[in-house]
Amino acid sequence: MLDDTDRRLLRHLLADPGIPMNDLAERANVAPATAWRRVERLTEAGIIRAQEAIIDWRALGYTVEVSLRFSLDKTVPRAFDEFTAAAREVPEVLAIETFLGRVDLRLNVIARDMAHWQEIYRQRILTLPHITDIEALMLISTLKHAEALPV
């Protein structure tokens, strides 16, 4: 069970993910040793699943980012599993999400430029199994991306 101290630590950690542990302790008003121990315990309990480095793909020359929304053929029992397994083989796929709604599945795909995008789209995406429909949203800009929760 989470107590107020856990929640306070999480709130500050989510708001400022790179924060040094000593600063986190200070902001949450606990001793540094307590902050260490609590964060470790939250990680072991799986509340904190990961602390990942964020890669800015633009800095590596990937200027195109597309959100691809798929409908799959639901008459095929293993359509989701087979599609997902094939999508994992495409290196330019950054995320795979499944949904309940009009869209079944979404892939986040990056490419160096439009020519590269066309190559990926034709050779790697359109060849994925059990697709019945695809819609593309091309990313213009990300205005907000926060993991913070209103806790």
């Binding site: 790179g18 699943r49 964020i54 890669i55 800015d56």
Partner: protein
């Protein structure tokens, strides 16, 4: 644009999984001295490739059982209305992601809520009240998987 060699790629792959590792620990894993690993990490940060950290939490365990992606089309367009919409959308605490996109919708939003009733409250009182909001499509997130990307 920065060129990466195999060592840089190995460092990125390691940090994407766990950004809390020290330069020494990363060096040991991939066969570099602590100062050599540190210099490479520093270079990746300075080039903007390493762009901070993300803390991934078990949202459900923290009481946020519902994550919904919204596709929003504006009813009226023009520069002023975009800015009004963006400012208001970014200010909603339950809205974690705001992306301006090109395609079927104008914006993509990720919304977290405690449950479906809570989501309905956010949708009615916050999202539908956004300036210029038109058609809204909601898809409830079931699973998400982040991939390492082309490194």
């Amino acid at each position: 644009m920065i060129d990466l060699d195999d060592m840089d790629r190995a460092i990125l792959r390691t940090l994407v999984q766990d950004a809390t590792q020290s330069a020494g620990a990363i060096g040991r894993r991939i066969g570099l001295s602590q100062p050599a690993a540190w210099r490479r990490i520093k270079r990746l940060e300075e080039a903007g490739v390493l762009a901070g950290r993300r803390v991934v939490v078990d949202r459900e365990a923290l009481g946020f059982g519902v994550t919904v992606f919204l596709g929003i089309k504006l009813a009226t367009k023009g520069r002023v209305s975009l800015e009004d919409f963006e400012r208001a959308a970014m200010a909603i605490p339950e809205v974690q992601i705001v992306q301006h996109v090109l395609g079927l919708f104008d914006y993509r939003l990720r919304v977290v809520a405690r449950d479906i009733a809570d989501f309905e409250r956010v949708l009615r009182r916050r999202i539908m009240m956004l300036p210029g909001v038109g058609q809204v499509e909601a898809n409830v997130l079931m699973t998400e998987e982040r991939r390492p990307g082309p490194i």
